[in-house]
């Protein structure tokens, strides 16, 4: 059924269709529309789930760790400060190999208070062992939420479905909402490999001395590597049932491009328009959208970018003392590739500032005309700030 819905509601529709069994959440703008809609689904019986209205994001994830350890399908959603508060338990969920699915609405971190789009919240969690999937539009948000469950329950790692604040979470778009029967075919009920059970008592998560800990950590990396392969299979199965696929990355006009823009999230949509116009003017420009961030799809990225002369990475995030985070990852992916392209890093749109077609065209022109990158990151659209003496 095709309906015009909000990005937030696309997440909620995904969790409903996935038949999440235990939901636990705490309010934070701009995530609230997700959990409000799920609360309505639970209240009117559309979704048969237990909804825990906990007292913090920390407890939201803690409760799901308990529920997933007991062998049921779980869901939560958060944003920014809430995700930062969960940090300890993000490590716990992956270390315990629990297939929790969470939506994170990318929002800037305080201070000062800022509720608008910025990816630093989720990218700062890149080392926590969660699979991360960045979405561009509402259809992708819904589809990715469904795929997230298949992937999580395949490799036993938690999955974060990520969408930009407001540009995506609060924007209405037409979305094809699949029927329950087709989703059930794609996503059968969760059959846990292990769970808490008095009939078969086991202890989970106890003291693990140096003699065993390293192997446990390695198993998480093995699962991440499996996830890269499993993601392709999940997409294949999803496209067979629902006719759509996205790929870990999407390359647009990369085959003959001299300069390739690298984007994630909603900046991708704006960039699609810019490169179409530039191509019409004869510019050899391409676009690489990165959807899968953990595990990082290094081979797909090398294949797409390897033949270009220059790569311009647009980061709506920043790692202080280093550079934009996607730029770091792209550099690392390319550095051992002989004759790899020069990587230009651009920081734009922090704290919800608009990244317009003009911003993106400026980034392209600067990259095209520069001989080599000047430093790790160039901040685009900065205003001059006069400091008191």
């Amino acid at each position: 059924m095709r309906k015009v819905i909000e990005g937030s509601h696309a997440v909620a529709e995904g969790a409903r269709l996935a038949r999440a069994q235990v939901i636990s959440a705490y309010p934070i703008t701009p995530q609230t529309h997700i959990v409000e809609r799920l609360s309505e689904f639970c209240a009117d019986g559309t979704l048969d789930a237990r909804f825990l209205r906990v007292e913090s994001e920390h407890s939201a994830l803690a409760a799901l760790i308990g529920a997933a350890s007991t062998g049921v399908r779980t869901f939560t959603a958060t944003s920014s400060q809430g995700l930062a508060l969960m940090h300890e338990l993000l490590h716990w969920a992956s270390g315990a190999r629990l297939p929790v699915v969470m939506a994170n609405v990318n929002r800037a971190l305080a201070p000062g208070w800022n509720i608008w789009a910025d990816q630093t919240d989720s990218l700062a969690q890149r080392d926590t062992g969660w699979i991360q999937l960045y979405c561009e539009d509402s259809q992708e948000v819904l589809d990715t939420t469904l795929q997230a469950y298949r992937l999580a329950e395949w490799v036993y790692l938690p999955v974060m479905v990520i969408l930009d604040a407001f540009f995506l979470s609060h924007t209405y778009e037409p979305v094809d909402i699949p029927d329950q029967e087709s989703v059930d075919r794609f996503l059968p009920p969760f059959q846990p490999r292990f769970h808490l059970d008095p009939e078969s008592p086991c202890t989970f998560g106890q003291m693990s001395p140096p003699g065993v800990y390293m192997e446990m950590r390695r198993s998480i990396q093995d699962a991440m590597e499996d996830a890269l392969l499993a993601f392709a299979d999940v997409e294949e199965e999803f496209s067979r049932v629902h006719g759509r696929r996205y790929g870990p990355v999407e390359a647009v006009h990369c085959d003959d491009a001299r300069v390739i823009l690298v984007t994630s999230g909603t900046v991708t949509s704006t960039s699609r328009q810019v490169i179409a116009e530039l191509r019409a003017r004869g510019e050899k420009v391409g676009l690489l959208k990165v959807k899968l961030f953990r595990p990082f799809p290094v081979e797909s990225i090398r294949a797409a970018l390897g033949r270009a002369q220059k790569v311009a990475v647009i980061d709506r995030n920043f790692s202080f003392g280093a550079s934009g985070i996607f730029a770091q990852e792209i550099r690392a992916a390319l550095c051992n590739l002989p004759g790899h392209p020069a990587v230009f890093g651009y920081v734009a749109g922090l704290g919800g500032r608009d990244v317009t077609t003009a911003t993106i065209e400026e980034i392209y022109i600067r990259t095209r005309d520069a001989e080599a990158p000047q430093g790790e990151s160039l901040w685009v659209g900065l205003q001059e700030v006069k400091h008191a003496p």
Binding site: Q21, V22, S24, A49, R50, L52, R53, V54, E55, S56, H58, S59, A60, A62, A63, L64, I65, G66, A67, A68, S69, T70, G71, V72, T74, E88, L89, W92, L196, D197, P198, S200, P201, C202, T203, F204, G205, Q206, M207, S208, P209, V212
Partner: protein, 294 residues
């Protein structure tokens, strides 16, 4: 009351607790009362170690270790999942020390009790962060030395009254218990098992290591805590109905304090002051139980 004590043991004879560990005794009695259809959630505490390293386990029941501050929340999630699966028989227990209950875990506990989550929360109270080497908690009593209240800076603040804090939530059932009174302890655990909603058991559990006490004194000291009114045995139902389970003869606190190395710096004047505090608390409890003029 003498309970039919189960012969069944749910704790193996080998564990890695210190000699005389009150927390190990508390676990043995509670599990005897609850039986094997129990899932235990265990935030960081001494028992995280006592339970044994991978791949061993001290307990014969399923156990989920959890982050320090998450006992109330993780237990809520386990209960929710069991409900979804239609399992109403299994008892969910959160098992935490005083640090994980009074301090870092208090928010998650308060949230769970406000939501009236259906599980039993057991706090075994050894009155400091013992697993990390005897640092003060908000459960450490007035007068105590710890490694973070050393020398002249011994703790001059009163112990937080955790039962009253939960009673203020109108918790369905809250009770104190003590390793020196096993019938009372097992009776309360068995009673709590039959109830639904949030239940809280506060168990006084001696730590000979941290209290600077010979291990063979563990149970004796615990008994003295009740007999001196320092740790009264009582229950509160629905936040209003108080029952005092043991009426002591009114021994003075001095001997309890003099036997423990953690209090050896206290003067007679200090002990007199502490006696006044204990009397004050006891009289307050009597009034709540309707056993003294308001």
């Amino acid at each position: 009351m003498h309970l039919e004590t189960s012969d069944q043991e749910y704790i193996h004879s080998g564990h890695v607790g210190c000699p005389g560990c009150g927390a190990a005794i508390a676990m043995r009695f509670v599990l005897k009362a609850l039986g094997g259809k129990t899932i235990m959630v265990m935030p960081a505490c001494c028992w995280s170690i006592i339970a044994g390293p991978y791949p061993q386990s001290t307990l014969k029941i399923p156990m989920l270790h959890a982050a320090f501050e998450t006992g109330g929340a993780v237990a809520s999630g386990v209960r929710a999942a069991l409900d979804v699966k239609g399992d109403s028989e299994t008892t969910v227990v959160a098992w935490a020390g005083d640090g994980g209950t009074f301090d870092i875990g208090f928010q998650a506990l308060s949230g769970a009790v406000e939501r009236n989550e259906d599980f039993l929360y057991v706090c075994y109270d050894n009155e400091a962060y013992m697993n990390t080497g005897v640092q003060r908690s908000s459960s450490t009593p007035y007068g105590a030395w710890t490694t973070t209240t050393p020398g002249r800076q011994w703790k001059r603040l009163r112990k937080k009254n955790i039962v009253e804090a939960l009673v203020a939530h109108r918790i369905h059932y809250a009770a104190t218990a003590n390793i020196a009174y096993p019938d009372d302890l097992m009776g309360k655990a068995a009673k709590a098992k039959t109830m639904t909603g949030s239940r809280f058991l506060h168990i006084f559990a001696t730590c000979p290591t941290g209290w600077r006490l010979p291990s063979e004194m563990s149970v004796k000291i615990a008994r003295m805590a009740v007999q001196t009114n320092i740790f009264p045995l009582y229950e509160v139902e629905d936040g209003v109905r108080y029952t005092i389970n043991f009426m002591p003869k009114g021994y003075l606190v001095n001997e309890y304090f003099r036997l423990q190395g953690r209090f050896k710096h206290l003067t007679d004047e200090d002990l007199a002051e502490i006696q006044e505090m204990v009397d004050e608390d006891w009289n307050l409890l009597l009034r709540k139980a309707g056993m003294a003029p308001a």
